[in-house]
């Protein structure tokens, strides 16, 4: 599909929120203790809600620019459930497997801290609807960043076991953080690094020196993991088109 730059940007933001939301939702019923199970499920719910806002807006933009397809207009559901792997524009970090609790927590911390600075910029965007969604989402990701940051400190500054797991998580996820800043607004990489460094320092964890970064998500070049996510997430709509609860 050839969409406008604006629509592609909205889809990128929507896909990010949907895919990380889906990953977090996989913890539902599996959290280490009930309270954290509830916490991560609530975070997943925030993300799905943000994804819906972005998809709804993207669908409106698509339908506005293409009036030849009025019998089958784009909807939030068609964009989430009927696009294939190469159409998705999410950052690779959002589709990585949850792994253990350390890997799950670290991904949420690194990504929600990125979103915190991104949405702070987007809430002043010239596009009023994009700015409104960012303003709304900002309040939510602030809470996600705070919660996951506390956990990074607890695990990094915890037992030998929790620290070892955190170090492994950093080794695995860090190469996927560089992609966040390749096309993003100026200045947020520094802000992000400063915040992450201060939490890592409190947690007794080191920032990796290796700056080599994976990339491709925004161009539709994904890891093998996204296909499995979509297979599970889209199965019902593909097998039984237009089915509803």
């Amino acid at each position: 599909m050839n969409y406008s730059t604006k629509t592609n940007h909205l889809l990128h933001l929507a896909d990010n929120a949907l895919i990380i939301g889906h990953r977090n939702s996989e913890w539902c019923g599996h959290g280490p203790i009930l309270e954290q199970d509830i916490a991560i499920t609530n975070i997943a719910l925030d993300y799905i809600g943000q994804a819906r806002n972005f998809y709804q807006y993207a669908a409106a933009c698509i339908n506005e620019s293409d009036d030849t397809n009025m019998t089958n207009p784009a909807t939030e559901d068609s964009l989430a459930y009927l696009r294939d792997v190469n159409d998705f524009k999410n950052h690779l970090i959002t589709e990585l497997p949850n792994g253990d609790w350390a890997q799950t927590i670290l991904r949420i911390f690194l990504f929600s801290t990125y979103q915190y600075f991104l949405y702070q910029q987007l809430k002043n965007n010239d596009d009023a609807q994009l700015a409104a969604i960012a303003e709304k989402s900002l309040k939510e990701v602030t809470y996600h960043a705070q919660w996951s940051g506390d956990w990074v400190i607890r695990l990094g500054d915890g037992t030998d076991e929790s620290k070892t797991r955190m170090v492994h998580a950093i080794e695995y996820i860090w190469p996927y953080t560089g992609e966040l800043f390749t096309d993003g607004p100026a200045g947020i990489h520094e802000q992000w690094l400063q915040k992450v460094s201060s939490i890592f320092e409190e947690a007794g964890l080191a920032i990796p020196l290796n700056t080599w970064a994976q990339s491709g998500g925004m161009k539709g070049i994904h890891t093998e993991h996204l296909g499995y996510i979509l297979a599970e997430m889209q199965f019902i709509q593909r097998a039984y088109p237009n089915s509803e609860w």
Binding site: E35, Q36, I38, A39, N42, I43, L45, D46, Y47, I48, G49, Q50, R52, N53, A128, Q129, A131, A132, I133, E135, K136, S137, L138, K139, E140, T142, Y143, Q146, W147, D150
Partner: protein, 161 residues
């Protein structure tokens, strides 16, 4: 349009409750941002508390149903995202209802970061200040879980947002 009841629309909306907190009306919650009534239609603007709040669809349906029952025909529901909903918009009546229901009301004003600070939450059962945070997320997105060290009761706290 000829409504079959004289109840003003705001009063009608006062009888619609958040399905998760059945003592707090959507008006006291601050979710209803405006009501416009003209010859052709009634336009109601509502704002979600949290982006993913699953109660929004039910609340929208309830608004539509009760206005239809009251004789309004052309009902338009608008969803506003900006300004983003804040707990500052919960009315005093709403806060009293929350406490009576066993949920501690938001403490202080919501600013960008205030709600992240550790603040003392009073137990809604025994009013003790000797309480402790159990989890930053509670039974719904808008609540955190606390425990009272005096009466030992766990309770929900409606987070500043």
């Amino acid at each position: 349009m000829k409504p079959t009841t004289n109840l003003p629309i705001w009063q009608l909306l006062q009888t619609i409750y958040d399905p998760e907190i059945p003592v707090l009306s959507i008006v006291d919650m601050g979710m209803v941002r405006s009501v416009e009534l003209n010859e052709e239609q009634v336009v109601i603007s509502i704002t979600p508390t949290y982006s993913g709040c699953p109660a929004m669809d039910i609340i929208s349906m309830q608004i539509r149903m009760s206005l239809l029952e009251a004789g309004y025909k052309n009902i338009v529901l608008k969803q506003l995202l900006s300004p983003a909903w804040t707990t500052d918009w919960i009315t005093q009546n709403g806060k009293d209802q929350l406490k009576a229901y066993g949920i501690a009301a938001p403490v202080g004003k919501s600013t960008d970061n205030l709600f992240l600070n550790n603040i003392t939450i009073e137990c809604p059962q025994c009013n003790s200040s000797n309480t402790v945070l159990v989890s930053q997320f509670g039974s719904t997105a808008c609540k955190a879980l606390y425990k009272c060290n005096d009466c030992m009761e766990p309770f929900d706290y409606f987070k500043c947002h």
